[in-house]
């Protein structure tokens, strides 16, 4: 590899050609402050618009200061990273950025986790000269079911654009207007709701300020618990337990399932259930659907649509409803675990309690922002009453726990309630990319072949590669599996399917990089993608430790079918656990 030698702050360093000054300095242990810059190493994503100008450094022989994040090292270069000139420039630029930023830190949802706030502290900003007569750029707030855009707080770092356009290929966000009035917005300055936004929340996950945040439902949840006429059920998604601990200073990848249950009980939820139960149920329905399509296909039925696509991920559902409207009959009709749980909770479980569905409030804790939208969809309501009332994120739950003054670390491990709290290892791995399809394979294999699996772990389906494929031998029948995480990868894979290039029987898609563990509602990773890997390891650890690891062996699932649903894909199951999809393309850009 070709290398270049240069001097940074009087220290020699040799780096591969093309390395930026910022990275070369990092190698020397020199910390150059960066604001707009973001690198998600494991995803191959680098955002370096060189827009904030905080990371500027002095390069000998250059007229002006150079942005270290995007200036490549050159042989013999002499760089100074913290001269008076540089420090003064950084401070002045920071003062400028703050002069056009609202000062409502007290009530800002990002307060304490705001990278702009941190930078202001780091650069020692104590006043903003001329603030009293400095005009602020203002823009209307945009409220969608999942995401709030408060672009007065936008600092034009463009990270959201990179995520939305390059990683997710959704194309909902880009810069509009000029100069002082420039903001990031959907095309034609439409509201997010009228844009192709999937609510995946990856923009929220990377936003350094409070410009993009989730819609907060914690107040509504507290009110529901406080209401004596309501029975409040909570369900927690698999990925939450692998990340919640981070909000309390625990190492990424620490599993906190038991503490989470204890905390929820202390907060006052009446029943602490697990979305994992519904994940097992999803496998029963989706796995059966796969086998049904497969069998009919092998029998020569030409009307069968293969591959079957998973439908657990609501952002992914939104994505194909916008972008693959010609393929709406291809995905599985199975509802997502969140919605299956709601449907069962407000029917089967309500009956058991002898309560009306209106007396029940179902809260979900999700690593996801699209779930907030999903639970509000009309098809998931009965007479206007939603199956799931409120969906809150991992971050919101952490906030609730703190608000209730619960010492999280000291909590004992507690168990979920029965019956909707029992789950298998197959359900836990729903949280990581490849997990849903692995869970489906574990069940489909045994049902199809009638044999017991000798090896439960399908490691060939795991990993962080954006698009993966594997062939699983179903007793002589090779089943081709495709996996994509990140909507950009999903688009690539789907286009191959559409053009007939790819030949898969089943495809799993997760909208967020890494799967739900990397969801838009998870604790902020602040650009450190190794955190996502640690969460993934935790998920597989949880699975390995579970006594039952195949969904169809979950005793409460078996009981549910016996007592209530009959069999998978029965009429009742169809009514409660399956859905259909809509062409959303036509909704976009029509005011």
């Amino acid at each position: 590899m070709e290398t270049v030698k240069l001097t940074i702050d009087n220290k020699q360093v040799e780096v591969p050609k093309g390395t930026t000054i910022y990275k070369a300095a990092k190698k020397l242990g020199i910390d150059i402050p960066v604001l707009c810059y973001m690198e998600l190493h494991d995803l191959g994503v680098e955002n370096k618009p060189a827009g904030c100008r905080i990371c500027v450094v002095e390069v000998e022989g250059r007229r002006n200061l150079a942005p270290s994040c995007s200036t490549a090292c050159i042989e013999g270069m002499v760089v100074k990273t913290h001269t008076t000139r540089v420090i003064n420039a950084r401070r002045t630029v920071m003062e400028l950025i703050l002069s056009d930023h609202p000062k409502d830190c007290l009530t800002c949802p990002k307060s304490g986790r705001c990278e702009l706030q941190d930078m202001a502290i780091k650069l020692g900003i104590r006043e903003i000269p001329g603030q009293e007569y400095a005009e602020m750029s203002t823009y209307r707030k945009d409220f969608s079911p999942s995401i709030i855009r408060d672009v007065d707080k936008c600092i034009m770092c463009r990270r959201c654009e990179t995520m939305c356009n390059e990683v997710q290929t959704v194309g909902a966000l880009s810069a509009v207007n000029r100069g002082f009035m420039a903001v990031v917005a959907p095309a034609f300055e439409q509201d997010l709701e009228k844009s192709p936004c999937t609510y995946c929340g990856q923009c929220v996950a990377v936003c350094p300020t409070g410009a993009l945040t989730e819609v907060d439902h914690t107040a509504k949840v507290i009110r529901a618990i406080a209401d004596p006429n309501k029975t409040v059920l909570v369900q927690t998604a698999p990925a939450v337990r692998a990340a919640l601990g981070e909000e309390f200073g625990l190492k990424p990848g620490t599993l906190v399932t038991g503490k989470m249950v204890a905390a929820l009980r202390q907060i006052g939820f009446d029943y602490i259930f697990d979305t994992d139960f519904a994940a097992d149920l999803t496998i029963m329905e989706e796995g059966t659907e796969l086998l049904d399509r497969l069998t009919r296909f092998l029998d020569g039925d030409k009307s069968v649509k293969l591959p079957i696509l998973t439908s657990c991920c609501p952002a992914w559902v939104n994505f194909f409803e916008h972008n693959f409207t010609d393929m709406l009959d291809v995905p599985s009709s199975a509802k997502s675990p969140q919605q299956m749980f709601g449907a069962i909770a407000k029917s089967y479980f309500a009956e058991k309690l002898g309560k009306k569905r209106e007396e029940l409030v179902v809260v979900s804790v999700m690593p996801c922002l699209a779930k907030k939208y999903e639970c509000q969809r009309d098809e998931f309501k009965v007479d206007g009453n939603p199956d799931v009332d409120f969906s809150i994120t991992t971050r919101e739950l952490a906030h609730l726990i703190k608000e209730f003054n619960i010492n999280f670390e000291e909590l004992p491990d507690e168990d979920f309630d029965r019956p909707l709290g029992e789950s298998t290892g197959a359900a836990v791995i729903f949280g990581a990319t490849g997990g849903v399809i692995e869970a489906a394979v574990r069940t489909a294999y045994e049902i199809y072949t009638g044999k017991s699996l000798s090896k439960i772990d399908f490691t060939e389906l795991r990993g962080m590669e954006g698009i993966r494929s594997a062939t699983i031998d179903f007793n002589g029948l090779p089943i081709n599996i495709g996996i994509a995480h990140g909507l950009g990868n999903a688009r690539k894979l789907l286009e191959e399917v559409r053009s007939g290039k790819a030949n898969f029987h089943a495809i799993e898609v997760m909208a967020c990089p890494g799967g739900c563990i990397g969801g838009g509602g998870q604790p902020l990773h602040h650009g450190d993608s190794s955190i996502i890997k640690a969460r993934m390891e935790a998920i597989y650890r949880e699975d390995a430790g579970k006594p039952i690891r195949k969904s169809h062996e979950n005793p409460y699932i078996i009981k549910l079918y016996e007592e209530f649903l009959g069999k998978p894909m029965s009429e009742k199951a169809h009514h409660l656990l399956h859905t259909h999809y809509f062409n959303k393309k036509k909704d976009v850009y029509i005011k």
Binding site: V56, D100, Y133, E135, I155
Partner: protein, 592 residues
């Protein structure tokens, strides 16, 4: 005989089309259509006195011609051979009529290379361009020279980019030629955006083929078969003439495949800019052409390495291209004999402001500002005193009396605290407030910043606010320090040329007119009397006769007083419109 009627945008706005029609009709009526020809040309440059009609071969220069003058011009000049005296240009200094345009002060010191055909040929007729040695340079290059030899000529000529940067053109071409790629592009930057500048527009309107020919030469040199002209959509006439010219060149086989049978392929397409100043910056221009947001990106990579569609791209300005064919034909030595040591050739300037001869001029590098302003420009309007000249548009600075004798070139202007820019030159007199001038330019850059980098997006806005406060009398001495620090930081940290130069009008006025700033912030006075907030209109009771003219004309009834007794202005109501000042016949209104 030839009657040249100016067909530039300015003269057309004053009915020059109709003048040409009338002249043609009048000639036909007198059966003279075969004897005298009416030709609509590009801009003559002397826009101050337009519409212009020039009669050849005797160089008679008629100014401010109206359509109804046509019969007289034909009857008197063409038929009887007598000049129409009342339409001749009058030298303001000597008060004498000038019969031959060569003797006009406006033209005497000019040297026209880029504008060689403007005001001379019909830009919509390729034959007229060819008759003036058009496409000979392309022919010579394609048949006698290899690309490197051609690049060497351009390098040796010393031609530097006329868009503002002043980068050596030959070196730019050489870099692009050395980068290997399956496809390369030649781009002509015609996104002229400086306020008051119309150099590129005039060249494209008056001589589009010179740009087309030069682009083809450049394509041959760097190995590109495709050319693109990025032109602002606000230039409809230039677009129209460029389109006609491209089509004619295609018909003549001067664009397209196998040009002149040499196997060289080159064609040109147009791309329209939507009016963003920043798109004149080459990376932003390229992104705009690609259909992306017109935003600059960090350089390197330079376009010569990774430009339009990721391919090596050479971007030159219109005026730069217009210089290329004469250099090829007359040689590098001829060109480099003109100008100063490091700035060769000529430069086109758009003269504007408080100057007698507003218009477009082309002068050799090395000429002094004094020659340009007082000889070519005819001095300051209404006998007022020269105060400053702003060069380089929003990126440039204001130069003063003490800079008048420095030879104009790229490096001298930068050393003096301004820059060449694309060639705007705005002259200011004693009535111009320099704080307001700086504010005007900042208003422009605030509007035109793309918003990508924080120093330009927010910093320019804050500079503007500070200047606004100063002109309103709300500024402090501390504000002046802030202005200076902020200006330096913006220059030091902004992403592209726009932000890196936008504080120049502030810094140059702070340097050269510091006292004027101090007067605003300390004495709360505007010495030029331009900042309304700092003015007060009062009536001198000694001089006032109580005629009531002021009170009757005051739009806000701020003036009171009995007939034949001194009147008074209520400063709380007065909006400082100056109506009373205009109407008073007794000089009783004072501005303090």
């Amino acid at each position: 005989m030839h009657l040249l009627v100016c067909g530039g945008t300015g003269c057309r706005a004053s009915a020059s089309d109709s003048i040409a029609e009338k002249l043609k009709a009048e000639l036909a009526a007198n059966n003279l259509q075969d004897e005298a020809q009416v030709i609509q040309t590009g801009c003559f440059g002397f826009c101050e006195k337009g519409p212009i009609v020039k009669v050849l071969p005797d160089n008679t220069f008629y100014t401010q011609v109206k359509p109804e003058d046509a019969p007289e011009i034909v009857k008197e000049h063409i038929i009887k051979g007598r000049k129409v005296e009342r339409l001749l240009y009058v030298d303001p200094a000597k008060k004498q009529k000038v019969e031959d345009s060569k003797h006009m002060g406006f033209y005497r010191k000019q040297m026209r290379i880029a504008l060689r055909n403007c005001g001379f040929i019909n830009p919509e007729n390729i034959d007229e361009y060819i008759a003036r040695d058009g496409y000979q340079a392309l022919g010579k290059v394609l048949t006698e020279l290899d690309p490197q030899q051609t690049i060497d000529i351009i390098k040796k000529s010393g031609l530097r980019g006329r868009g503002g940067g002043g980068f050596p053109t030959g070196i730019k071409w050489e870099i692009a030629s050395k980068n290997k790629a399956d496809q390369k592009y030649v781009v002509c930057n015609a996104d002229e955006g400086d306020p008051g500048a119309f150099m590129d527009r005039s060249i494209l309107e008056g001589d589009p083929h010179s740009v087309i020919e030069a682009m083809a030469i450049c394509g041959y040199c760097i190995g590109a078969s495709k050319g693109l002209v990025y032109i602002r959509a606000e230039y409809p006439l230039a677009i129209q003439r460029l389109r006609i010219a491209i089509n004619q060149a295609r018909e003549y086989g001067l664009l397209g495949n196998d040009i002149m049978g040499t196997g060289f392929n080159f064609d040109i397409n147009l791309r329209y800019g939507a009016g963003a100043f920043v798109c004149g910056e080459e990376t932003a221009l390229i992104h705009s052409m690609e259909g992306l947001r017109g935003e600059p990106t960090n350089k390197p990579p330079f376009p010569a390495e990774r430009g339009y569609m990721g391919k090596p791209t050479n971007v030159n300005n219109v005026e730069t291209f217009a210089n290329v064919p004469p250099i090829i034909l007359k040689g590098a030595d001829w060109y480099s004999s003109i100008g100063t040591e490091k700035s060769k050739g000529t430069k086109v300037f758009a003269l504007a402001g408080k100057i007698n001869n507003v218009g477009l001029i082309e002068v050799p590098m090395g000429i002094t500002l004094r020659e340009v302003i007082f000889e070519i420009g005819g001095g300051i309007k209404n006998g007022k005193k020269f105060k400053a000249v702003q060069t380089g548009g929003p990126s440039g600075g204001c130069l003063t009396e003490k800079h008048l004798d420095i030879p104009i070139d790229f490096d001298n202007l930068i050393a003096a605290g301004s820059m060449m820019g694309s060639g705007g030159m705005i002259v200011m007199d004693e009535d111009d407030c320099m704080v307001s001038v700086a504010k005007f330019y900042l208003d422009f850059t605030v509007e035109e910043s793309c918003g990508k980098c924080s120093p330009c997006r927010i910093g320019n806005k804050r500079l503007y606010e500070l200047l606004d406060r100063i002109t309103k009398g709300e500024g402090t001495l501390e504000d002046l320090d802030r202005l200076r620090n902020l200006s330096h930081v913006i220059k030091d940290t902004a992403l592209c040329g726009l932000g890196q130069t936008s504080p120049n009008p502030v810094l140059s006025t702070l340097d050269n007119f510091y006292d004027e700033y101090v007067a605003h912030v300390v004495d709360k006075k505007c010495p030029a009397g331009q900042c309304k907030s700092l003015l007060r209109y009062v009536i001198d009771p000694e001089a006032c006769v109580g005629c009531t003219a002021c009170a009757r004309n005051c739009p806000v009834n701020a003036i009171s007083g009995e007939r034949k007794k001194p009147h008074e202005i209520n400063p709380d109501i007065c909006i400082k419109c100056g109506a009373c000042y205009e109407k008073c016949k007794f000089d009783a209104i004072r501005i303090i």
